[in-house]
Symmetry: C2
Subunit: 231 residues, 2 copies
């Protein structure tokens, strides 16, 4: 039989997955709204934000309670810390979905314009990153997380391409400046979602390998630092 503490960890994991599902759904809805100029979906994204925020808060409180409940083992401690960080990133993914929905609402007031950018393609790449980052968390597999880190470069390149061609469009066709700017900001928001997926993948690796791979520090386990002998 699992202890109360380990049941708590299971519940924490389940809640974080629900949080991940909400954040993913928000991004998918916002991107679908972009594609279809669909104001209803925009409103769904805006209305969904408070549930995402409330879920973030619950998860943080639960992580706090688990830490306060007993002295966790090192691996459980890393897991709980990873959950609180992933939680923050998922909430910010939700914020980006709101930003995208707001841009779509702005665009919907303007004449539709043919723009040199494939937002749905970029959205598909970004959604795949979020999904895989969550899968790497579910499976506890650092290799899956590592694959997410590599996908980030692809999204960055898409963003750069979008930037160049949309600025060109703004210059050549002043009548679509605002639409092009909206699309450019949507591309930036998607890039930020990809950054959050990257953060999540790094937190999974931190938890699984007990190592800190952030900022290209390598994936070898760190020698634990002492508390008093540092500085």
């Amino acid at each position: 039989m699992r202890s109360r503490f380990h049941q708590g960890l299971d519940e924490l994991r389940a809640r974080l997955l629900r949080m991940g599902g909400l954040a993913e759904q928000a991004v998918d809805r916002a991107c679908q709204a972009y594609k279809d100029r669909d104001l209803n979906r925009c409103h769904l994204v805006l209305e969904g934000e408070s549930l995402i925020n409330a879920t973030e808060r619950e998860i943080d409180e639960m992580a706090f309670d688990l830490l306060a409940m007993q002295q966790p083992m090192a691996v459980d401690l890393r897991f709980i810390l990873a959950v609180t960080k992933i939680n923050s990133d998922l909430e910010r993914v939700g914020d980006q979905a709101v930003n995208i929905a707001e841009r779509v609402m702005d665009m919907a007031e303007l004449p539709a314009a043919e723009l040199p950018v494939d937002i749905p393609r970029m959205a598909a790449a970004v959604s795949a990153m979020v999904r895989r980052a969550l899968e790497s968390f579910i499976e506890g597999k650092a290799e899956l997380a590592q694959a997410v880190l590599e996908m980030d470069n692809v999204v960055d390149r898409m963003r750069d391409e979008a930037f160049i061609s949309l600025v060109k469009a703004m210059n050549e066709r002043p009548d679509v400046t605002r639409q092009a700017l909206d699309a450019l900001l949507v591309a930036r928001n998607l890039e930020r979602v990809a950054d959050h997926a990257t953060n999540i993948a790094e937190d999974v690796i931190f938890w699984v390998r007990g190592a800190d791979v952030r900022h290209n520090a390598g994936i070898e386990p760190n020698v634990p630092q002492g508390v008093t002998d540092t500085n």
Copy 2:
């Protein structure tokens, strides 16, 4: 005499303040670079990023060690969790400074343009927010942190104004489209720095009041949630 654990907490606090100093400096340098079209300062910001990233990692490892060392009291636990969250936000403030420096480098390749936006004024407001958020952390004062939350609306308004007048400039003067876009993205980056200052202020309040004020949940202390009776 303070225990080894409490010496560790003091050291953690000192390191987070150094991290805060680095992040503040990066934003100030990037904004000064904008004002003077100063590529040297841009390079300083870009080079400073790795120190910020390394400091973030050290603080996280130290927080982990402190949590693993002994069962912290609830107030110390909240403090350590607040430190790890503030740490992430400061690192992201550093990222925004890098983004601003990159925009300035782009602008420096283009003819200088008179633009309808007061970036230095916005930068001053944002820097004040970061500084006060860190002060609220040093002093452990929720009132100071509360003031930061109120300043965020001012910055959001500045960003909206910048957005409107820069889009207008893009429409009317296609020759400065790219400069106007760069300025607009700098304004957005500053707004994001303000958002991070807000997050920091919320984390200070969470620590000091033992309450979660995020997402307008009010500042009354929460009734602690049980671990098994939630769902």
